[in-house]
């Protein structure tokens, strides 16, 4: 690996200043589980690595049943699934957090890092989109908010401007009768890159028989994670039944623009999006009804 200097600012202001002074010479590190592998392979090396894990806001996990969840960008995955309140409130998020890498990776990797890494296969991104996550971004010009679905712009590229970094992700408070689920398809049972992944969240009416709203997002079927807006919107106001779910899964399939590569073919991936959309919707419905 090429040499670099290691900087660990302890406040947002300090981080902003550090990044401003280093310009494109700096690379931001959270858990490092993707970044160190990339740098070791000679990709994305930089003279300065800025570790943001010492900044309190980046480690924040604050949940309020009325305000929702603020999840610091450097919070490692295990803190999500080991927190019962959180995993009860956002089971879909727990699904994703508990299948990124193995337990060792989950001890370091963060949802924020997963989003910024902007891999098409990023396992947490579809569910964060489905849950309506908003990125809180800090930079020299202050802070700004951006919906998660707008964060990934190309494989490995995110919407952060030079000098900006992701502070946290805000999730709206879970609505009554809502549920969510993330599933990915991999040939093994762990330690794999999604061939296809789907995150779905639904809100049902009080009877549990009709959709109020739904959001569906997809992984590994386009250069970036895909927000399949039409697929989710198609369910709003519709009864919960096989036909409406099938229709939504077909819309999700048409939102997918996969390629054939060593992990899967276009046909396989499109097919899997259909299967996974159905399965995640059914799981989300079950959770909504049980909630």
């Amino acid at each position: 690996m090429e040499p670099f200097d290691f900087l660990s600012p302890s406040s947002i202001d300090e981080a902003v200043q550090t990044l401003a002074s280093k310009g494109n010479q700096a690379r931001i590190m959270a858990g490092g589980t993707d970044m160190l592998v990339q740098m070791r392979a000679g990709r994305g090396t930089a003279p300065f690595v800025v570790d943001i894990k010492d900044i309190p806001e980046l480690n924040e996990v604050s949940y309020d049943a009325s305000k929702g969840l603020t999840l610091g960008a450097a919070v490692p995955c295990y803190r999500i699934y080991e927190d019962k309140t959180l995993s009860d409130a956002y089971p879909g998020l727990m699904d994703a957090a508990s299948l990124i890498g193995g337990i060792q990776i989950q001890g370091r990797a963060s949802i924020g890092g997963n989003i910024c890494n902007a891999a098409p296969s990023g396992d947490s991104i579809p569910i964060v989109i489905a849950l309506g996550g908003i990125c809180n971004i800090a930079g020299a010009n202050g802070t700004r908010q951006l919906p998660v679905e707008e964060m990934c712009t190309a494989p490995g590229r995110n919407a952060l401007e030079e000098g900006e970094f992701l502070v946290s992700i805000h999730f709206p408070a879970p609505q009554a009768n809502s549920g969510a689920n993330y599933l990915r398809f991999i040939p093994r049972n762990e330690m794999d890159i999604a061939v296809a992944g789907v995150g779905s969240s639904v809100q049902l009416d009080a009877s549990g028989q009709n959709f109020v709203s739904a959001r569906i997002a997809l992984a590994s079927v386009a250069p970036t994670p895909v927000f399949a807006k039409e697929a989710g919107d198609s369910l709003a106001g519709k009864p919960v039944n096989e036909d409406t779910i099938q229709a939504a899964s077909e819309l999700a399939q048409s939102a997918a623009k996969p390629i054939s590569d060593m992990r899967g073919t276009v046909r396989q991936r499109t097919h899997l999006i259909g299967v996974l959309t159905r399965r995640t919707l059914n799981n989300a419905i079950e959770r909504a009804r049980g909630a």
Binding site: M1, E2, P187, N189, E190, D192, Q268
Partner: protein, 758 residues
């Protein structure tokens, strides 16, 4: 029903027990010294520059920028190898073989696979070596490459070696070809055999390139001392093999090379070949300091030796009652960049499970632009078993015959003549099949959504040379010195055979694995030979000790040696009951009766251990996604005698799981030109804990007549049946014959789509 059964014929005092291994504590406390842990004062780190192209001519290499990079001590290319400086005449012998070996270590004129070494750098640390290496300019003329074994065989295919001509058992073809060798064996009258059949089935099968997947990357430390003595500390399955390779490539007398085998983190055949040793040696000579190299995981995948991809056509004729009348197969295996695929071994194994009068086997060794293949657990046999055992399953389904009954009906047994001509001695295949038939797993109901497959496998387990020395200490503890590297518990199994023979406690034998200067020639640890052949050497050395102890007792008692016997650790006078000494008592007296006692033995056993295995696999398939899950698995195997049943079970389980990986998910993905795309453990999908059930085992013990305790060798054959067992199970649940490995979810979906199902 217990999950680990041992069906013993004979009980011994130490052999067959499960003591803690002698190297165990060091390995659970992190104290054991593996190759990568070697750290001599002043050691430099080496990095190897490798070709990004699968096939290219090297026009020039400019190392000047790397040489002047701060912290760099030496840069080498193939010009630094003797091949470059000596003439053909000076090199003598088989020039082509030396050129292949030397070029494989570091390419001189052409690169033949992505990852082929072209230069190496020694620097103060690995980071500096890496940075400097990136500054080496290599000018390549990229050539067309050929990746697929059948494409490579076609007339007009891109030639990898301009001079390579097919060797048809000693006859060399006129025209160059990528087919390095062809071999055929035939028995009986195949045409008549097929004519006599009621049903003839024929199918083609393919398997992908797979890797042994040992967790420890290749590593070596070399120090070429100013006295001309070259020392190597390395991770290898055969220290003498490394010595031979290095002395051959560097044109050194073998006595100038000393190889110290460090603990080895897995090999499965892949650590027989020496990749880094000569490179580090030359760098050490240039720098005058020790030089160490450690492959990255990507290098391990791209530049060590995987197992070949294969294409096979199998044809089997049977009577309606299931009797096989004729068999035929053509097998082509890719050797990678240089000749030497294990297809010739596959010839011996393909139909060795069956007693069939008429058979023909053709094997082709084919070069392609991939890393040169190496041995991988029963090299050649797993591919052949996948093809043959899959077709047999198809025949059983067709004839509605139980797959175990079919195999019992046709099973090889003592006296069966195999296609290459050899006659089986006492073997335990029938016993394995019977154990499978009566196993709780086989009798249980198959769950819904699950298929069950059965398959068998064979590996000959030949012996080769082993040397053992043992000394009797004054406290009665025996130091056991051997040249066999211990990969998976052979210190324990050799110590057990020593203790058994001497009639002493297992704890009173202290095994040590030593360097090439400290013991006689010992062949690799591999081929399931160590517990068998090195065991035989230990038994023979122990007999030597016993004889010497008898002669000491004769001195002490002033008796004739003929009147003294050594039984169960006691030395006693045959007719005088008073005259009796325990092993320890007599050991104490060796100081005063002529000094310490050493026993020694070098053996080269000639018989075969003949290992057979039968596996039963239950595989659940999610037909909507193609996802498979192995839900139950039982491995049954004839060990002859399990010296340490726990480690025999471990070999059976480990082999089965490597086979499950090979069956379902493991493969090298190459682009059209032969560049590997998945050279990491993330994308080369070996099974994890979560992908497997417990692996049940049944050790069958049909004693090998060629070993005093009946040992056969156990490591290899365990990987032969799983691929077909899994494939047959998948067929059972999906209805589609899966004739191409790995059976990925994508292929399962495709098969469903093609057949209009799911």
């Amino acid at each position: 029903m217990t999950s680990n059964q041992v069906l013993s014929e004979v009980e011994f005092n130490v052999v067959g027990k499960r003591p803690v291994r002698p190297d165990g504590v060091d390995k659970v406390t992190g104290r054991a010294q593996y190759g990568g842990d070697t750290n001599l004062t002043g050691t430099l780190q080496a990095k190897v520059l490798r070709s990004p192209h699968p096939h290219a001519r090297i026009k020039s290499i400019d190392t000047s920028k790397a040489e002047s990079f701060p912290g760099v001590r030496a840069v080498i290319t193939a010009k630094d190898l003797p091949l470059a400086s000596l003439s053909k005449e000076e090199l003598g012998g088989d020039y082509t073989a030396l050129k292949f070996a030397s070029d494989h270590m570091m390419a001189s004129d052409k690169v033949l696979f992505k990852g082929h070494p072209v230069a190496a750098v020694a620097a103060i640390n690995a980071h500096v070596a890496q940075s400097a290496m990136d500054l080496i300019d290599v000018d390549y003329e990229v050539l067309d490459s050929v990746v697929d074994v059948r494409e490579a065989m076609k007339p007009g295919a891109t030639l990898i070696h301009d001079e390579l001509r097919t060797n048809d058992m000693g006859e060399t073809a006129d025209q160059p070809s990528n087919i390095a060798a062809h071999m055929r064996y035939e028995i009986g009258d195949v045409t008549k055999g097929f004519a006599d059949a009621d049903l003839v089935m024929e199918k083609e099968f393919t398997t992908a390139t797979v890797h042994q997947g040992y967790i420890e990357p290749h590593n070596t430390t070399a120090f070429w001392n100013s006295d001309g003595q070259l020392n190597l500390w390395t991770s290898t399955q055969g220290s003498f093999q490394v010595r031979a390779t290095v002395s051959n490539i560097l044109r050194l007398p073998i006595s100038k090379v000393k190889v110290t085998p460090m603990e080895i983190g897995g090999g499965f055949g892949g650590k027989i070949t020496a990749y880094l040793d000569a490179i580090c040696s030359i760098l050490s000579k240039k720098t005058g300091t020790p030089v160490k190299a450690l492959m990255s995981r990507t290098e391990v995948f791209e530049a060590s030796g995987p197992a070949p991809a294969s294409w096979m056509r199998v044809k089997i004729g049977v009577k309606n009652n299931g009797t096989m009348t004729a068999v035929e197969t053509e097998m082509a295996m890719d050797a990678g960049a240089y000749p030497g695929s294990p297809v010739m071994q596959a010839i011996v194994c393909a139909f060795a499970c069956y007693d069939v009068e008429n058979g023909r086997i053709d094997g082709y060794d084919v070069v392609v632009n991939k890393p040169k293949t190496a041995a991988y657990r029963a090299p050649g046999a797993p591919q052949a078993a996948f093809a043959v055992e899959s077709l047999i399953d198809e025949i059983c389904l067709n004839l509605k015959i139980d797959p175990i009954e079919f195999r019992l009906l046709n099973a090889a047994k003592e006296g069966t003549r195999r296609i290459e001509g050899l006659v089986a001695r006492k073997i335990g295949f029938v016993e394995c099949l019977e154990a499978a038939r009566t196993h709780d797993h086989y009798k249980s109901k198959v769950e819904k959504g699950t298929g069950r497959g059965v398959a068998a496998g064979y590996w000959p387990n030949r012996g080769f040379q082993s040397s053992v020395v043992m000394t009797v200490n004054y406290d009665g503890v025996v130091s056991l010195i051997m040249g066999s590297v211990d990969i998976g518990g052979t210190r324990a199994s050799i110590a057990q055979q020593t203790a058994e023979t001497l009639g002493i406690a297992y704890e009173d034998v202290k095994p040590t694995v030593v360097d090439t200067d400290s013991i006689g020639y010992t062949f690799i640890t591999g081929g399931s030979r160590t517990s068998f052949a090195t065991g035989l050497a230990a038994i023979s050395a122990a007999e030597d000790v016993k004889q010497q102890m008898i002669s000491r007792a004769a001195k002490i008692w002033d008796a004739s040696e003929d009147d003294i016997e050594f039984v169960a650790g006691m030395i006693s006078h045959k007719s005088d009951e008073e005259l009796k000494l325990s092993f320890k008592d007599l050991a104490r007296q060796t100081a005063t009766t002529g000094g310490s006692i050493s026993g020694r033995s070098s053996v080269d056993p000639t018989g075969e251990g003949n290992g057979y295995a039968v596996h039963i696999a239950d595989v659940a398939v999610d037909t909507e996604t193609g996802k498979t899950d192995v839900t139950r698995f039982t491995a049954i195997q004839d060990a002859g005698k399990a010296v340490h049943p726990s480690y025999v079970e471990g070999q059976m389980q480990g082999g089965a799981v490597q086979g499950i990986g090979w069956a379902l998910n493991e493969e090298y993905f190459f682009d059209d030109t032969g560049k590997m795309l998945n050279s990491s453990f993330l994308d080369y999908r070996m099974p994890t804990t979560l992908d497997l059930p417990m692996i049940d085992t049944v050790i069958v013990e049909v004693a090998n007549p060629g070993h005093p305790y009946g040992v056969r060798g156990v490591g290899e054959v365990a990987i032969c049946p799983p691929m077909a067992a899994v494939a047959n199970a998948v067929t059972g649940v999906t209805g589609h014959r899966m004739n191409s490995l790995p059976i990925t979810p994508g292929k399962i979906l495709e098969a469903g789509w093609e057949n209009g199902k799911s």
